[in-house]
Symmetry: C2
Subunit: 152 residues, 2 copies
């Protein structure tokens, strides 16, 4: 069936993208987690470690470790929180900011390369299809979660 073939392809593509990303990142001494952390700070501004833990769904303790690594690499730094003396704020260094900007650019270039030769309409059509797949999948996951609640 074609429907299953499409599904398998999406899984395949997802595996390819992920493997490639991990290879690229490890070449510059990063991994998915540390990059996610920097990406969050880059887009949301200075964050407390607790906020980062919430965003990334990992423990605060683990954020401490990740931040330590990024400080070692001169990509972020800790600053006292302006209003809460218990907390610190994580900010990107210049090097960190410029790395995030480079990544964003690479990202755009890759997106363009992968859809090269498609008309804008084609891009829009596929985008809208994928959107419905995401929405439906989210609905199914919610349903399953509700089911588990009821059973438990």
């Amino acid at each position: 069936m074609h429907r299953e073939q499409l599904f398998d392809q999406l899984l395949h593509l997802s595996a390819l993208l992920q493997a490639d990303q991990e290879r690229e990142l490890s070449a510059i001494g990063l991994n998915t987690r540390t990059t996610h952390l920097m990406w969050a700070v880059h887009h949301r501004g200075p964050l407390m470690q607790r906020e980062i833990a919430d965003e990334m769904q990992v423990t605060q303790r683990h954020v401490t470790t990740l931040v330590d690594e990024l400080i070692e690499a001169h990509l972020v730094y800790r600053e006292p929180h302006p209003h809460d003396r218990r907390a610190v704020q994580i900010r990107l260094t210049e090097k960190g900011t410029s790395l995030m900007e480079t990544m964003a650019l690479d990202h755009t270039r890759l997106a363009d390369a992968l859809t090269q030769g498609w008309s804008d309409d084609e891009v829009a059509a596929v985008t809208s299809r994928i959107e419905t797949v995401i929405a439906r999948f989210a609905a199914l996951v919610d349903e399953a979660a509700a089911e588990r609640e009821r059973t438990a």
Copy 2:
């Protein structure tokens, strides 16, 4: 730009699918690795542990561990290799086979649910687009690998 939005969506979908799969598997005491192992045996027939290590791109030592876990769960068993007394063959138990069949069915059902209401032509059109994205991505990865060869 729309092209980047599509790319981001594909990444998002991939993360959703993966997280969901891991949750489902952990509910039945499996993970991505052990499932991959069983899937390989289910589709390729009885395999030596070395063959499994090749297929999964992990060490033979790690295959030993994964097989031990699956034996503990009564999902596979070891059998002497018919022609090579150094080796063993991994086979699925009845329970293991039936689990793989259930998974294949769930997989088909999910693919259908996610594309519900799409015409066959629409499915085919999106499939063909994703195919070109995969092909192009593979080409880019190869190019980058060749580049690294030359530099090294």
